[in-house]
């Protein structure tokens, strides 16, 4: 067939169409190559990126450990907080839903505006809090009406709660929001709303109470909405702490000194378990938990009675006459005096070129050691202290737990001051004087103690010389020192001291004879103390020493008392300090008596 023009046209077409087909083939190969590159070569990298897109790790907050008293009463617990949220995307009209809710749960205009504003601002699937801290009844009513309340979501959160309010504020402390400085390695601290211990045991034992965070790997979409949970590691709750404190005794003591600025410590003399550790006034930790207002905080801060201070371990006071047992025992042990030896007290004692006075203006006359303790004769102890010397007194005080910390699990513990020659030289650069020893002899001058130390001292005096250490926590870990070290002193000397402490209360010559227990089968002993807050000047002495009642509150003596009971086989030691309370016999002894009576009565049941 001849080549017609049409044939030529067709041939040209076929050639060029073939070229186009070839071009298509090359381009298609390019697509395949690219697919291979992305899906085979790059698949691991892109799978990682896709997972990074979709997987989000959420922390699960652990439940904070509870703090319980020795009988299992909750002191710091986690309370379910009932609240109602609204999820804007689940309702056609947020305002209408709130109107409907208003019939069950009042929603004020202001709240409504806040909710609408929040709903407009954040992503529609995130809940907006409508109301918090609802009571169970209201919460139930909302739940029942849920079908008519589109978008409303009842929710339960957990908040720390201190049911005893101010009763154990200083011991338990409180939790509060994490501040920026505290954010450290534990990612839990960055969780919104997470709280950590800021005071008391909550702070000291925060790590144990906090528990371990769990986590949940969730799949999220491009908006961050959780689609489903992929895996989950549950959190581990914090440890429950069992205190040695008895809530009943704590309550009784706190009520007994409610209006005072006082500290009371009650301890089992054999185990060292602290049964009550009261410091008044206190504060309500629940206020701090939720964030206290500056105004309220200022009131606490400026109160002269210092409610924020835990006086039992942070308060350092001159022990006054409660220190005399230490001086007496040191003298007996050193053999510088016989207990029967009588020393004459005419209320004045010359040392060097100064004159020291006895609290009793007419003097005690000739007193033996037991009489001197019972009558709290200062002249006797100026003399005895001078004989035995500061170093022996220092040593004895140390054996009884003065001048050092016990490191119980409460923050801010102070160590007091157990002075010595070396200490004075080192800190003041002045030599120790005879007058210094005389002052320490009556528990004044440089010596300082905490109420806890006084209680431990008393326990060690009356428990047969066991060097018990105070304990506030029943701890599974260390099964405490079952047999504490025994303080080396003679049994006979100890009995003389105890006889003196017995006589303070139960002998007519005792300064606190009026406080003896009259109930059948109940008895206690102890020692009063009155610590001068302010030196009595010579002009005052020449004129007339003012009675405590005549002085302004802040200048009055601290009233102290250390006691134990029963007399036979003592079980409990008590120390009481009433700041600016006046005389120990009048103010502090009755408190100790009432507390011990309460405990005896409790034991009888």
């Amino acid at each position: 067939m001849a080549t017609s023009p049409d044939d030529q046209k067709y041939k040209l077409f076929t050639r060029r169409a073939g070229l186009i087909s070839g071009g298509m083939l090359i381009l298609t190969s390019g697509l395949i190559g690219r697919m291979y590159f992305l899906q085979v070569v790059g698949q691991d990298q892109y799978k990682l990126l896709a997972d990074k897109n979709r997987i989000s790790l959420r922390l699960l907050a652990p439940e904070r450990g509870k703090i319980l008293d020795r009988n299992g009463h909750g002191l710091a617990i986690n309370r379910t907080d009932y609240r109602v949220n609204i999820i804007p995307e689940q309702t056609d009209n947020v305002e209408e839903t709130l109107e409907a809710l208003n019939k069950i749960l009042p929603v004020s205009e202001r709240q409504k505006r806040r909710i609408l504003r929040a709903a407009g601002r954040q992503r529609a699937f995130l809940p907006v809090i409508v109301a918090e801290n609802l009571d169970w009844e209201t919460f139930s009513r909302v739940n029942i009406n849920i079908p008519d309340l589109p978008g409303i979501q009842p929710d339960m959160g957990i908040t720390r709660y201190y049911p005893e309010k101010d009763l154990l504020a200083h011991i338990v402390g409180y939790v509060s929001s994490v501040n920026e400085r505290e954010i450290g390695e534990d990612p839990l601290l960055e969780l919104p709303g997470f709280k950590i211990g800021k005071n008391g045991m909550e702070r000291i034992l925060d790590q144990r109470l906090r528990g371990k965070a769990g986590n949940s790997r969730v799949e999220v979409n491009v908006m961050g909405r959780v689609i489903r949970e992929l895996s989950r590691n549950d959190s581990v709750s914090g440890d429950t702490l069992n205190l040695t404190i008895d809530r009943g005794i704590q309550k009784f003591t706190a009520d007994r000194v409610r209006d005072e600025s006082a500290a009371v410590v009650v301890m089992d003399v054999h185990s060292g378990e602290i049964l009550a550790l009261t410091s008044t006034p206190a504060f309500d930790p629940n206020d701090f938990n939720l964030g206290i207002s500056q105004k309220k905080y200022d009131v606490l801060l400026n109160d002269a009675r210092k409610p924020l201070i835990n006086k039992t371990v942070q308060g350092e006071y001159p022990p006054g006459s409660t220190f005399k047992m230490i001086v007496a025992l040191a003298a007996l042990e050193a053999g510088v005096i016989d207990s029967q030896e009588k020393i004459f007290c005419n209320s004045k004692y010359e040392i060097g070129n100064t004159t020291k006075y006895c609290w009793k203006r007419q003097g005690h006359g000739h007193v033996s050691m037991v009489e001197a303790i019972a009558g709290s004769c200062d002249v006797y102890f100026y003399e005895v202290a001078g004989r035995v010397g500061i170093d022996k007194i220092h040593e004895m005080a140390e054996r009884f737990g003065l001048g050092k910390k016990f490191d119980i699990d409460i923050p801010g513990e102070k160590k007091g001051l157990n002075p010595s020659k070396g200490w004075k030289m080192a800190t003041r650069g002045v030599r120790w004087q005879g007058g210094d020893t005389a002052n320490v002899g009556i528990g004044q001058g440089d010596v300082l103690v905490t109420p806890l130390q006084l209680c431990v001292m008393t326990a060690r005096l009356v428990n047969g010389g066991k060097a018990v250490t105070p304990k506030i926590l029943f701890d599974d870990v260390d099964v405490a020192d079952i047999s504490p070290e025994v303080i080396p002193y003679s049994r006979r000397n100890m009995e003389i001291i105890l006889k003196g402490m017995d006589a303070v209360i139960n002998d007519p010559i005792g300064v606190a004879f009026a406080q003896r227990m009259r109930k059948k089968g109940m008895s206690f002993g102890g020692k009063t103390g009155s610590a001068q807050v302010r030196r009595i000047t010579q002009s005052e002495r020449d004129d007339r020493v003012r009675k405590n009642e005549e002085k302004p509150w802040i200048e009055r003596d601290h009233a102290l008392f250390v006691g134990y009971g029963p007399l036979e086989n003592p079980r409990y030691a008590v120390s009481v300090i009433v700041e600016h309370g006046g005389g120990g016999a009048k103010k502090a002894a009755p408190i100790a008596k009432d507390v011990l009576e309460f405990m005896f009565a409790k034991d009888e049941v």
Binding site: P5, D6, Q8, K9, Y10, L12, F13, T14, R16, A17, G18, I20, S21, M24, L27, T28, G30, L31, I32, R34, M35, Y36, L38, Q39, V40, G42, Q43, Q45, Y46, K47, L49, A50, D51, N53, R54, E219, V220, N221, V222, M223, I227
Partner: protein
């Protein structure tokens, strides 16, 4: 005259034509469409609403249209080529004047039951008009410069209108599709070289003419990290979806990128990423294979029919189809800038599906009438 008579004698009955429909090709079309339905079902989180159901309905209507087109005598289509082109051009003018605005570009005419995109119709109409034009030229005439005026106008008018909308992707598709017909119709090669050089200043002025979002797309394509949360986001997320699919994919309705909405426009222009993520390289190659069968068929048909009209028509449709497929997939794979071109027969949307089914209908029509000879004078001249 004798050839014409011969042609008439050979015209087939309706039954004959039906029996000559290429069932393999129809099956391939249905398979591609089913892949589309499945993906639309998947991106809806496993639901026929809002996309899959509508798409099925449109597809069924389109299939009927396709078969009807295939059965009608090819000379009728050649006769209607210019009127069809004219109507399409008028519709394009209408959208420029009173069209509705969607996605920042004026592209639709609301017909009540569907939104018609005249630029889609134009792709077919232009192929038909150019095929007819070159069918009627003698071999020597194709080389004459004066014979270039008409084709340049035929291509230039719709391109100008489409650019005004502005729809860069469609304009490119129309230009390349048109040029391929000119090329196969017999235009001299050096004309294309001159034309290409002349395009360079035109491209510069086009750059200035582009809207900022279009300029952005081109720039972002050149460097996707330029704006990882803005315009580059689509490109990056699409690549992550495709790449993370691996060889075998994550499973049906299991694609995290698509199910969790990290993918943009996943039911329309980026639907290929869903396929690649959920069915992996195997799924992508499978679809690509089906496309290749379709295009190869159209190309083979174009090389084996008697009429130049049929050849150019079939070739033009093959090229158009290829351009859809290539640009869309290359865009999904991050090889070219993001332009609004759907994945043929798979992406959700009525106009493109209609256009492509009509196009395949013409290919089938050409195949059925492969022995029909048409004089240069025209269909029924």
């Amino acid at each position: 005259m004798a050839m014409r008579l011969q042609g008439r004698r050979r015209s087939k009955s309706l039954f004959q034509k039906l029996s000559e429909l290429n069932l393999l090709i129809i099956a391939v079309v249905v398979m591609i469409a089913i892949i589309g339905f499945a993906l639309l079902y998947s991106v809806a989180g496993g639901a026929v609403d809002p996309w899959a159901k509508k798409q099925v309905i449109r597809f069924v209507i389109g299939m009927v249209g396709m078969v009807v087109i295939a059965l009608i005598d090819i000379r009728v289509w050649m006769f209607l080529a210019y009127p069809f082109y004219f109507i399409s051009l008028m519709l394009l003018v209408v959208v420029s004047v009173m069209g509705q605005t969607g996605m920042g570009a004026t592209r639709w005419i609301n017909l009540g039951f569907m939104n018609l995109q005249p630029s889609e119709l134009m792709k077919i109409a232009l192929v038909m008009a150019l095929a007819r034009y070159y069918h009627c030229l003698a071999k020597e005439e194709t080389g004459q410069y004066t014979r270039l005026i008409m084709p340049v106008f035929l291509i230039g008018a719709p391109v100008a209108l489409v650019l005004m909308q502005p729809d860069l992707g469609t304009a490119l598709l129309i230009i390349i599709g048109g040029i391929s017909i000119l090329y196969c119709g017999g235009v001299r090669l050096w004309i294309f070289v001159v034309g290409f050089i002349a395009m360079i200043p035109a491209a510069f002025s086009a750059w200035n003419y582009m809207k900022p979002y279009q300029q952005n797309r081109v720039l972002t394509f050149l460097n996707p990290e330029r704006d990882p949360l803005g315009a580059g986001y689509h490109s990056i997320q699409a690549k992550i979806a495709v790449g993370s699919g691996g060889i075998y994919g994550k499973g049906f309705i299991q694609g995290s990128q698509s199910q969790l909405n990290f993918l943009p426009e996943k039911h329309t222009d980026f639907i290929f990423t869903v396929l690649a993520e959920e069915f992996g390289l195997m799924g992508g190659l499978g679809l690509l294979g089906l496309y290749i069968i379709l295009m190869a068929y159209a190309l083979i048909v174009s090389m084996s029919v008697r009429s130049q009209f049929g050849r150019l028509l079939s070739l033009g449709i093959a090229v158009t189809f290829f351009l859809y497929m290539f640009i869309n997939m290359a865009m999904n794979l991050g090889m070219v800038p993001v332009v609004g071109v759907p994945l043929p027969l798979v992406s959700y949307g009525g106009s493109a599906m209609l256009t492509l089914l009509v196009g395949i209908g013409f290919v089938l029509c050409v195949a059925i009438h492969r022995d029909t000879t048409i004089s240069r004078g025209g269909a029924f001249a």
